[in-house]
Every structure is written in C-alpha cells, then in structure tokens.
C-alpha cells in the first residue's frame, strides 16, 4: 500500500511536471507600444544566433522556441518602431516587451548641382608626327603582340598621375597601319579584337598591381581607324595612386593574325599593331611592363639606345 501511494505520487508529480518541461522549450510574451500600452501585432522577433524567427499575433502575443545557442539575443523589429535587442539572460518568460515609436521622418531631399570646378588632364600624350618617324626604322617600334602568340599576352604602360585622386575618363590608343597587297595601300585592320586593362600600382615593385576594372574592356571590330578611343567615364574608375597602368592584351585569335610575306618567308604578327614613340624623358621610370606567367616584368623597348613607349594616352578628371 505504501509503495502504491508512492508510485501514484510520482506519476502525478510527473504529469504536473510535463507541461513545465514543455514550456521551458519555448518563450512567451506580449509586445506593446511603450507610450500607448496597446498591443502590437505583426512584430518580427528573432534569435540572432540561432536564426529562428516568428511574428506576434493580433493581440501582440508571441511564442518562440528557446535558442540552442549560448548567449543569444532576441531581436524585435517593426516598421515605425525602434529596433530592440534583449539578451536571452535578460528575458523573463511571459514578460511584456515595450517598443518605442521611432521619430524618424523623411527629410525633404534637395538635389542641387554642386558648384565644383572639375578639371581634366591628358596623360601620356604622344605626338603624332614624332611617332610616325620612328615606326619606319625598326619593326620593334611597330609594337604588335609578340610573334608566335599562343596565349594572350599583356603589356602595360606606366602613367604618372599628379592630380590624384582622379577619375579615368577616356583612353586613346594609336594604331599602326599594315600593308594590303591587294590595294597596294596601308590600312588599319578592322576585324580585330583586343582587351584594354587598367591597373593600380603594386607598391612593392612599382609594376602593375590590382586591376581597377576587373576583366578589362574588349575592343572588338574597331573598323579601319587609326585612333581607338574608349570612353570609360561611366565606370567611375578611381585612380588613388600617383602611378597607374593601362595595358593592351593581345589575343591569339585567327582574325588577329597578320602575316608579312617576304619572298620566301612569312613572319606572323598579332594585331593590334600599336604605334610606338620615343620617350623624351625616360628617367621618370620604366615605361612598359609585360605579364609573363603571372608575374609582371619590366619590358624595355630600345631604339637606338633610346627608350620607346606605346602611343596610349589617358584623360583623367580631378577636382
């Protein structure tokens, strides 16, 4: 008899304990407006770490499972009210949560043109006539992609930008003409394609570093024109450093192939054929860098002991 009553007592107590055990898995409460004390429906509440969320019902009550994560935070969010965060330790089950109305009103937005004087500068400007003289002497100056191109190849030209920071506006590339045996005339190949890249300086070695416009621009089918101009102002390329690089990437495509036929031999070049010119002041730094298997190396094109450069210019905008 004694043991029986003990068993009953155990069972009864267990029955009473059950809902309590169950209740411990969930937290309950009500959300109210702090000033008016009215209940708030459709308030989102969320455990930030456990990432479980629910919404308060029409009368502002909510029920949410306890967070399994240690030191979690309850996060309350409703439109028109300030966000509220309560740490799990600070939340007593069944308590009321008061949200403060937010006083944010949208200000009138005034759009006005700032009266700023923006200046432009052209860097790496080249002289047309000057460049033409040089091209006739040495075929190195007629800077095509390397002969026997199997993979793409990049050569970058260094630009000194005194007016940093500035925005890159446009890039101008001057091409060299090739000879057409059918017309007996010089012309600019029209069906070609190549890529143009902009790099920031790598402060470690002074060569090209991070690409400022990843992927670069593809110039495709430019037509029979000498000067190719790229307007890149819409990309807002910010030139922060004093030195930046503009590079040409030669692509090993069939349409870029250009053969010069001698009497009994053929030399293959790759378009674009970029005009070269002499540096008047080559002391300003190594002008050209080429990418060899993921590393940039200075490339010196010499012509009669003088440094040569590519006919690429850049226009920048600064304040």
């Amino acid at each position: 008899m004694k043991s029986y009553s003990l068993q009953l007592l155990l069972l009864t107590s267990f029955l009473f304990i059950m809902p309590t055990l169950h209740a411990q898995k969930k937290i309950r409460g009500q959300i109210k407006n702090k000033t008016t004390q009215s209940s708030l429906s459709n308030v989102t509440l969320k455990w930030l770490k456990a990432n479980i969320a629910t919404q308060s019902n029409a009368k502002g009550f909510f029920e949410l499972e306890r967070s399994t994560k240690a030191e979690d935070t309850l996060f309350f969010n409703a439109i028109g009210y300030e966000m509220l965060k309560i740490p799990a330790v600070g939340f007593t089950n069944g308590q009321s949560v008061y949200l403060q109305e937010s006083n944010v009103t949208l200000n009138e937005v005034i759009i006005a043109k700032k009266k700023q004087k923006q200046k432009t500068a052209t860097l790496g400007r080249f002289n047309d006539a000057y460049a033409d003289v040089i091209t006739t002497g040495n075929h190195f100056i007629n800077y095509n992609g390397p002969v026997n191109l199997k993979e793409s190849y990049i050569t970058a030209k260094l630009f000194n930008n005194k007016n940093k920071p500035s925005l890159l506006q446009s890039i101008k590339i001057e091409r060299n003409s090739t000879f057409n045996v059918f017309t007996n005339k010089l012309h600019y190949e029209s069906n070609i394609s190549f890529k143009v890249h902009v790099y920031d300086v790598d402060t470690l070695n002074g060569g090209p570093g991070i690409e400022l416009y990843p992927g670069g621009w593809l110039v495709d089918n430019p037509g029979d024109i000498k000067t190719i101009e790229l307007n890149v102002g819409q990309h807002y390329i910010l030139l922060r450093s004093e030195v930046f690089f503009i590079a040409i990437e030669w692509l090993p495509l069939p349409m870029n192939e250009h053969f010069v036929m001698d009497i009994n031999r053929i030399t293959a070049f790759y378009e674009p054929s970029i005009l070269g010119y002499l540096h008047r002041d080559h002391r300003r730094g190594i002008p050209l860098w080429s990418l060899f298997k993921d590393t940039w190396e200075p490339t010196v094109l010499r012509n009669g002991g003088r440094y040569t450069d590519l006919a690429i210019s850049a226009t920048v905008k600064y304040e």
Binding site: T136, G137, N138, H139, P146, V147, N148, L149, K150, T178, F179, N180, V181, F182, T183, N184, K185, L186, E189, S190, N191, P252, P254, M255, E257, F259, V260, M261, D262, I263, N264, R265, I266, T267, A268
Partner: protein, 316 residues
C-alpha cells in the same frame, strides 16, 4: 687522316642509303602518274610524286604506318608501309567514269557570277601554318549554290595574296614597311590544281569529280587569277557544287616560314595562299581535305570569314 676523310665521305652516304625510290603508274596503260598525293597517315606527312612519277621515302620509323595514294580520276590506294619493302612500283586503278544524267531542259543564256569578292577588303588567307594550327590539308573547297540545275561552269577567278616584294612596283610606303625584312630571290612561280566537285547528297560535302581532266594552273605572282574553263565543258548537274584548290606539295611551291620569337622555328608552307572573302556569311562554305582524304568544314576563321575569295561564273 685518311680514315677520317673516308669517314666524312661516308656520312652523307649512310644517310642516303635509307631513301628508296618508288614509281607510280596506271594499272592498264602503265603510264607514269606525276603529282600523285602520297600521304603517310599517322605521321601526318604528305608529299607528291615528281614529274617522272617517282617519290622517295625513308622507311625508318614509319614501318608501322599506312600509306595512302590518291589521284584525280583514280581509286585511292591504301597499304601498310611494310609492304613497300617488296615492291618498287605502285599501281593505281582508274575509276570507272560515270555518265552523269543531265537534264538540260531550259537553256539559260544569261551569265551569272557567284560569290563576288571585294578585293580591297581582303585581309586574311589560308594555306599557311599559323602559330596555333598547322595547315595540313591537301585541298580547300568552296561551296557554290547555283540558281538552277544543269548549268555550265564557265570561268573562275581566284584571289591569291603574294609576297609584298613580288608586286611590280614598290611604293614609298611599302619600302618603309619592308625595311626590316630581308629579301631573297624571287621564287619562279606557283603550280596548283583546281578541282570541281558535285555535292555529295548525304554529307553535303564535296562528292564526285565533275571534271575528268586535270586542271593545272601556274601563277606567276598574279593577285587575281582568271581561269577560263570553257574548254573543259564542266556541267553542274545539281544546283550546288564545289570548286577546290589542290595544293602541290613539292619543291617548287615550298615556302619557308620563320617564326621568330624566343626560339627560331623553321616550318614549311606550300604556295598558293588563297585569300578569304571579306564577307561574313550566315553559313560556312569552306571544306578542307586532310591527309587521310576526309573532308571536314574549315572552321579556322569562324565565325568571321565563311568563304574563299573564289568567284565562279556560270553560263548556259
């Protein structure tokens, strides 16, 4: 000293010993066949029999390979190179000439030119090894679509770029452009053949020969070559047909190719070089015949250039 001198004399002889001469003749008439295509399939080599119908071969290293002989109007001959040890003379059998059933109902009098080319815009050409792809083909064929069946191919115009210095007058601009290059003496001329094929009804690639006689042409550095086909009387049974350039891979046409970057590479290309039409078409019309005598689309310039710079004139 004497031994050494003897040894020096021996060297070229040792080398020459391996070369064996073979003759190719017609099976019935025993007539010698010059210009037969001799291909060694796995080695991917192709040569031609010379004017006396001989070809020379050094069998060493090729004994496991297969020889393929092909000639216009004859059946192909395929044999293991091993078998060459036993023979000195190879025999080709003539193909039975099929009479093409022609239905010429309406005789069209007007003359029509297909595939007009604006020569001033030609930029590219085929026939040379490129840095990425070697040009290992025996023929390149251009597909033409005529307006009606049963027309006759009257003439062809083939555009071929030639070495710059071979053009008659060198302008000042050219001279400046050519300065960096060294010139050697002019090659005499280029010899090539023209083949005309019917369209194969199943593959839509070049099929049977439409001209039984050999059309061999000699180009003396002409940029545009006009070929009069009136005497061959080539009638086109269907609407579509092919005009192919057949390369003669022989000593006369060889063209040294220098690839001068890093390592100097010497390769051999064979003239002629055939210009590509500057027009970009919707469909590729050029087919290439490889050393195994198989036709395949010539996709090298795709999607840009789809036609060879060959113009065909059709008549009644």
């Amino acid at each position: 000293m004497l031994t050494f001198t003897c040894f020096l004399f021996c060297i070229p002889q040792l080398h020459a010993q391996n070369l064996t001469k073979y003759l190719i003749v017609d099976s019935k008439s025993k007539k010698e066949l010059p210009g037969v295509v001799v291909s060694i399939i796995h080695a991917d080599i192709s040569i031609r029999t010379d004017a006396d119908a001989y070809f020379e071969l050094d069998m060493e290293g090729l004994l496991e390979d297969t020889l393929l002989l092909s000639y216009q109007g004859y059946n192909d001959l395929k044999m293991p190179i091993k078998k060459l040890k036993e023979v000195k003379e190879l025999v080709l059998e003539q193909k039975p000439i099929k009479a093409i059933n022609q239905k010429i109902e309406k005789q069209q009098k007007e003359i029509l030119t297909l595939n007009q080319v604006d020569k001033n815009k030609i930029t590219h050409f085929a026939g040379v090894h490129t840095n990425t792809t070697p040009f290992k083909y025996l023929q390149l064929a251009q597909r033409f679509q005529g307006p009606a069946e049963g027309m006759t191919l009257k003439a062809l115009k083939i555009y071929m770029p030639i070495p710059i210095a071979a053009s008659r007058k060198i302008t000042k601009e050219q001279e400046l452009f050519l300065k960096p290059y060294n010139f050697k003496k002019l090659p005499p001329f280029t010899i090539f053949r023209v083949r005309i094929y019917d369209e194969d009804p199943t593959t839509h690639q070049p099929g049977i020969d439409l001209c039984s006689s050999i059309i061999e042409l000699k180009n003396n550095d002409q940029l545009e070559m006009e070929v009069d086909l009136d005497k061959y009387n080539v009638s086109i049974p269907g609407k579509a047909f092919f005009v192919a350039i057949e390369w003669m891979r022989n000593g006369n046409n060889v063209f040294e190719l220098d690839i001068v970057s890093g390592k100097m590479q010497k390769l051999h290309a064979y003239k002629p070089f055939i210009a590509l039409s500057p027009l970009k078409g919707s469909q590729l019309n050029v087919y290439a015949l490889n050393f195994r005598n198989e036709w395949a689309p010539f996709t090298y310039f795709m999607p840009h250039l789809t036609d060879l710079a060959i113009t065909a004139t059709l008549g009644k």
